[in-house]
Symmetry: C2
Subunit: 109 residues, 2 copies
DNA sequence: CTACATTACTCTACCTGTCAAAGTAATTTT
DNA sequence: AAAATTACTTTGACAGGTAGAGTAATGTAG
């Protein structure tokens, strides 16, 4: 399992990326992350909903209630134009960061 | 400039890596990071000394006072055996993390 | 020689993001 | 009817990063 300090700061972008693909609700995103990472990372519920609050406040995502199919009522999120721009920037930032950290992490093997 | 949340969690490893190369003191490390990253990342003094305290408490580094050449008295740090092992693990962890984040950040261009 | 810049380290208070824990509620399975 | 699963929310605590202020020694310019 990846430590939270390591993934910290990337969560906003990861969530945005998943919502970009299609509108999604919290529980679904949580399962999707576990699935795609093969359980190497599992987002905690409290963390996920904190991310939603933050992103919605910054108007990077919007929410609406979907029809209930099973379990509690689903709250869906869609990405905004602002959110798409933010995500694009985040991806660029990630590339730069990756190179910088590699500067210190490489050349030891 | 890289945001602190993005680099957070990697700082311990970066500092350890620099001390592994040779014994170093705080101010030197700060300048070295700015130099190597071409000022794309500058560690804040308070942050750096917080890292030292944390690493020393965990016995990953040890400190001793060096001879004063210019300015205040220099406090040098050397990496311990435990520190070397920790660094090695951190580097492995970084490789895994990089792949996981790439899972979400790639395939959008 | 004296003021200023630079080198060098320390401490405190604060902010932000993550998360454990506990709770609410609807639906499905046993 | 009870238990499991789906689904969301809130509160409080904790850890890492940082602004800002302070201490102190050495080098440099006028």
């Amino acid at each position: 399992m990846i430590r939270s300090d390591i993934i910290r700061g990337h969560l906003d972008a990861i969530i945005l990326r998943l919502i970009l693909e299609k509108d999604r609700y919290g529980y679904e995103i949580s399962k999707e992350i576990s699935l795609r990472t093969d359980d190497r990372y599992q987002i905690k519920e409290a963390t996920l909903y904190a991310v939603f609050q933050r992103l919605e406040k910054k108007e990077l995502i919007e929410s609406y209630f979907g029809s209930v199919s099973r379990g509690g009522k689903r709250k869906y999120y869609r990405i905004t134009t602002l959110g798409k721009a933010y995500l694009k920037e985040s991806i660029e930032e990630w590339k730069v960061t990756k190179n910088i950290i590699d500067l210190f992490m490489e050349g030891l093997d």
